[in-house]
Amino acid sequence: MPAKRVLVTGATTPLGLEVIRQLLDDPAIEHVLAVGREPAGALPIAASDRFSYEQVDLRRSRERRALLFGVVRARGIDAILHGALHRSAQLSGRKVHELNVEATRELLHLAERHPTIERFVFRSSAAVYTIVGDKPSIIDEEHPLNLTPAAPQWIRDRVEADLTVCTYIGLSRLRIAVLRCAECLAPKTGSQIYDYLQSQVCLRPLGFDPMLNLISLADAARAQALALRSDEQGIFNIPGADTLPLSRVIARSGRIAVPMPEPLLGPLYRLRSATIGTDFRYDLNHWRFHFSGVLDGRRAAARLGYRPEAPLVWPS
């Protein structure tokens, strides 16, 4: 049964906003309840009988419980679209983990015994997959996840949250879909590539030019809206319309690519972060700057009806 009354977490990000707009454009959606940490008025959408906003800090267990058994129950919400993840790769620690993983885990627990919620859609990301030279560069949903113990918390949290939701699929009364989205090249979405491209000069490993797949806000939001309309359960890769080498990403963004010996890149980008305060971490991107990783979206096409349609708008 398609969702009619939807709770959207992570609503104050550009992606959250685009999802809300697309949901509100669908007359079958009766109500969208958006939540975020920012005060009311953070979203440029006026409250109405089809839209409301709640300021909630999902890092706090009490607020999560109050949300689900308060306003969510009162409004008869039947689906959760959970996409609230900490965006900064430079921050780590307990509070970050609380939002990335514990909020996801508890929202699932609460939703399972909730009187009105039937559908749970989790917006995961392609960052959960491991990318190395001897694994496929075309990544389907059975591709190995990045379970390297030495992986930064940014990765470990995403993998743990994703697996937490995956373990419920088929065992819970909820109909669960996990969407592993390609990287959305947009600000405030946690995109490492977006931050990487903020420099006029982009350093890349000498001798390597891997294929990347990037998704637009419009396509990422459409995939989530389609998942809410569908009853399909499982894990779905959500690729974007743009598949191109790293060098072309840099060129299309109007930046200058400077290939450099690989050992220099980590120290130089750490220096950049320390001096300019940027979010890009080379250690997060080391492997995918060497080896290709392109999402195979055939399952989402067959079962959710999702195919990428909206290419990125590159600087002219």
């Binding site: 001897d134 560069s137 075309i138 490993p205 001798g207 390597f208 294929m211 797949n213 080498p245 290419p311």
Partner: protein, 284 residues
């Protein structure tokens, strides 16, 4: 496509302009699954194919003077696997099969060679190989390529084939069965191929084990510093329709897979015998 003329795009335009018309026409008519920016999802890029063809065609036309036999046996469309003997120290056999199919297949097709697992880790080489259509040897990529209807090239002898000493030339080494399993599972015919000449081009008289420069499995000891200008004869045999002989479920039966691989091996061995009988000398 990028509006920024990069060094690579200028190089590609220059190479394309210098290619003789028959080569250029073949590359212009190549069908590939453009993922949106002139590349396919595995990294193939026709402009780079033009660069590679322009850079290497003298090897094909002048140095090894390749003679093609039976190119019409390559299916015009759909998935297929070329299975060839392998030898000669350096993979000129793969390169010449690639150029021969590019130059002579009708309609033009591009061969997707399956690379050894260490190649994606080699700087520059990995990028160039990906752009001209090579595929990293992981199973997922091979499956994807077959499902997309690509023409794969495999050397079932693997590194034992290319590293065979000169006195074992044209003796097929341990014949791996992966190509037969893939052909059965993904319903692709196998075209047997014999490359005559390649196994004498760079005589190997020994090898140093345990030295793994850039992941390469051994260091060869070669009798000549450069490849000899032997003539290559490439023979394509009639396609072996393994999907007609086996069901997809048979791909899980090791005995049936081994029997299918033996069929292919025998076909390649037969082509080698014929090719050796027909040639008039290693330089002719």
């Amino acid at each position: 496509m990028s509006r920024t003329p990069t060094l690579a795009s200028r190089l590609a335009a220059h190479a394309r302009a210098r290619l003789p018309a028959p080569w250029r026409d073949q590359i212009d008519r190549l069908r590939y699954d453009d993922a949106g920016h002139g590349f396919d999802a595995l990294g193939l890029h026709p402009d780079t194919i033009a660069v590679g063809a322009q850079a290497l065609r003298w090897l094909y036309e002048r140095y090894f003077r390749v003679v093609s036999h039976g190119i019409e046996n390559i299916p015009a469309a759909g998935p297929a696997i070329l299975a060839s003997n392998h030898g000669g120290g350096l993979p000129f056999d793969g390169m010449m099969i690639y150029l021969d199919v590019l130059r002579n297949s009708a309609p033009p097709r591009v061969v997707r060679p399956i690379l050894d697992h260490f190649v994606p880790g080699l700087p520059f080489v990995s990028t160039f190989f990906a752009r001209v259509g090579s595929i990293g040897g992981s199973r997922g990529n091979v499956r994807y390529a077959l499902e997309q209807g690509e023409l794969l090239l495999v050397f079932p002898e693997g590194t034992e084939g290319i590293g065979k000493p000169i006195w074992k030339r044209y003796q097929l080494q341990e014949w791996r069965v992966g190509h037969a399993e893939l052909a059965i599972r993904y319903r692709a015919p196998v075209v047997p191929v014999a490359v005559i000449g390649a196994e004498e081009q760079l005589p190997q008289i020994g090898r140093i084990e345990g030295v793994h420069v850039l992941g390469i499995p051994y260091l060869p000891i070669l009798a000549t510093p450069l490849p000899l200008p032997v003539r290559f004869h490439i023979h394509y045999g009639a396609p072996i329709d393994l999907p007609a002989l086996y069901t997809a479920e048979d791909a899980d039966d090791p005995e049936k897979v081994a029997a299918a691989a033996a069929l292919v091996k025998e076909a390649v061995a037969g082509l080698i015998r014929r090719g050796l009988d027909e040639r008039e000398g290693i330089f002719r």
